[in-house]
């Protein structure tokens, strides 16, 4: 079947238009489809990131109103390390550096929630070397839970052991961080 617009190239796009209830079939080639505006697309394929950057834009209108708006407006938020502004971030859909996560932190949770099925907090691997403190903090948390459990079970002998363990881990932690380790 030839293209109904140029009558030169074969029709590669076939679709049915329904306008006010009347149906018309359209058969055009890719080039004419673009020229005549049957379809609109950029040279670049529509990527996940285009969808995402669309996602970000809901923020300024719907959410900042409810939350306590920061003193400076969204548009002026700018990462000091890499220079990326929040507005640029919403356009590109990508962060410029690790610091951006902190700079834009007030705005990010709604985005993360949408992309990650409602989640906003990491629950996975922690780097072995640089994450030692975090490992210990997690350990303390786990041990504290265990301690509670043992106390409810009235297993005081075990509980005392766990308590000592917590103390020794916390001592390590405080030494590493110069006393800031409490959470």
């Amino acid at each position: 079947m030839e293209c109904q617009e140029c009558h030169e190239r074969p029709a590669t796009l076939h679709f049915t238009k329904v306008v006010n209830g009347s149906k018309t079939e359209v058969h055009v080639c890719g080039q004419c489809a673009k020229e005549k505006g049957y379809v609109s697309y950029d040279e670049e394929a529509y990527s996940l990131h285009d969808l995402l950057s669309g996602l970000f834009n809901f923020d300024s209108t719907s959410l900042t109103g409810q939350k306590n708006t920061p003193s400076h407006t969204t548009k002026q938020l700018k990462c000091e390390k890499c220079g990326m502004t929040y507005q640029e971030f919403t356009q590109v859909g990508k962060f410029g550096c690790s610091e951006c996560y902190h700079t834009f932190s007030d705005k990010l949770d709604p985005i993360f929630r949408r992309v990650h099925s409602g989640n906003t907090t990491h629950d996975g691997k922690i780097p072995k070397r640089i994450g030692t403190n975090i490992h210990q903090k997690h350990l303390v948390k786990e041990l504290k839970n265990k301690l509670q459990q043992l106390i409810t079970e009235e297993n005081f002998e075990e509980a005392a052991k766990v308590r000592d363990e917590i103390r020794s881990v916390e001592k390590d932690l405080n030494q590493d961080q110069g006393g800031e380790g409490e959470d």
């Binding site: 995402l52 390390k81 990508k94 962060f95 410029g96 992309v115 099925s117 907090t121 990491h122």
Partner: protein, 354 residues
């Protein structure tokens, strides 16, 4: 160079092995995204920052061996010809983005081609591991080992509450994308897959065709991967993916059995026609190639064809891509020339089976 030699060099060694459930699961892949804490991400970093990353890989990891990954080789994208990059893309060792867009890209590849570490792609580091068949656990464990090994020398961008920080918010947290490549001809033929895809998407997993554009799955090859990277542990992510893949494997086997029982001669006819096309055609385009290869592989799996090796599908899917064809031809080819060359390569390859 003879075709046999060419294939031996062209096909990644790990692809020649058979893994668990390899009648349906062609390969398992784990990818971890990591970044340098100190440096801006590649999309906006200065040239010097990215060169620093490249240099580190060159000095610390080039020609090293880590565990059973021997003789890692580091290559800069700028040192490769376009066709060489194309070949790496077709082998899935690098992404099209790294090949075409990255300014200071590089890749560290193990001799077995099971591990590739893309450098200065969208993130500074993307570790990828491939295993034949259905082996996500093993792949994740080894990816973690490589991750730890890299972390010895590199301070990763990591945040206690957000996890590993990545350039794109879709990767933050674990930075993990786990995926399996599956050959699902019976579910596709019976159109069952179309009904299963929406259900799978609801679990935070994505199904897509790996070859071809958009959602179309050329050669009935589907890729299933996780979408969510934040808020779930790597092991949980993999468990979800595994259970869905397991279900798909069961369903595909069931559909194959039913097809064989109910189709009488039709299925056998279809398979042998495709076999005939591959064996005899003089001009063949990539889509038809994929369809015929899928049929033949199904024919091998259900027992109609017994004189062809099982790896034929994955092997020829890679070898008949434009980059490989041109590398084998030793020159660039027009699309028409490629279709002729593709047909002759397939014919020669099938003669090797005899």
């Amino acid at each position: 160079m003879s075709l046999e030699q060419f294939i031996n060099e062209a096909i990644s060694p790990w692809m020649k092995e058979e893994g668990p459930d390899s009648d349906i699961v062609m390969s398992s892949r784990i990818r971890l995204a990591r970044n340098f804490e100190r440096l801006p991400f590649p999309i906006i970093a200065e040239k010097e920052d990215l060169q620093e990353v490249l240099n580190l890989f060159d000095t610390e990891y080039h020609h090293r061996t880590y565990k059973n990954y021997h003789d890692l080789e580091f290559v800069r994208m700028s040192d490769l010809q376009p066709v060489e990059k194309r070949v790496l893309v077709e082998k899935h060792l690098i992404s099209p983005h790294l090949a075409d867009k990255s300014v200071q890209g590089g890749v560290l590849i193990s001799k077995s081609e099971q591990v590739s570490v893309m450098v200065n792609e969208e993130d500074h580091i993307r570790v990828q591991l491939y295993f034949p068949g259905f082996q996500l656990d093993k792949a994740l464990d080894q990816a973690f080992e490589i991750d730890d090994w890299l972390e010895d020398k590199i301070n990763f961008a990591f945040d206690e509450s957000k996890g590993y920080l990545t350039s794109c918010p879709t990767n933050v947290g674990t930075g993990l994308r786990a995926s399996v490549m599956m050959h699902l001809p019976a579910l596709a033929l019976t159109q069952k897959i179309n009904r299963m895809i929406p259900a799978i998407s609801q679990l935070g997993l994505v199904v897509r065709g790996i070859y071809g554009e958009g959602s179309e799955a050329v050669g009935n090859i589907f890729q299933i991967s996780n979408q969510v990277t934040l808020g779930r542990s790597e092991y949980d992510i993999i468990e979800d993916l595994k259970s869905v893949v397991q279900k798909l494997v069961e369903q595909e086997r069931k559909a194959r059995r039913l097809l064989v029982e109910q189709s009488e001669l039709q299925l056998e006819d279809r398979i042998f026609r495709s076999y005939g096309v591959l064996e005899r055609s003089r001009i063949i385009e990539s889509k038809e190639t994929a369809k015929c290869l899928s049929d033949v592989r199904l024919g091998i799996d259900v027992g109609y064809i017994d004189n062809i090796s099982k790896t034929i599908l994955s092997e020829l899917m890679v070898l008949t891509q434009p980059g490989f064809l041109q590398q084998y031809a030793g020159k660039s080819l027009t699309p028409q020339e490629r279709d002729i060359f593709r047909a002759s390569l397939i014919r020669e390859r099938l003669i090797l089976e005899k």
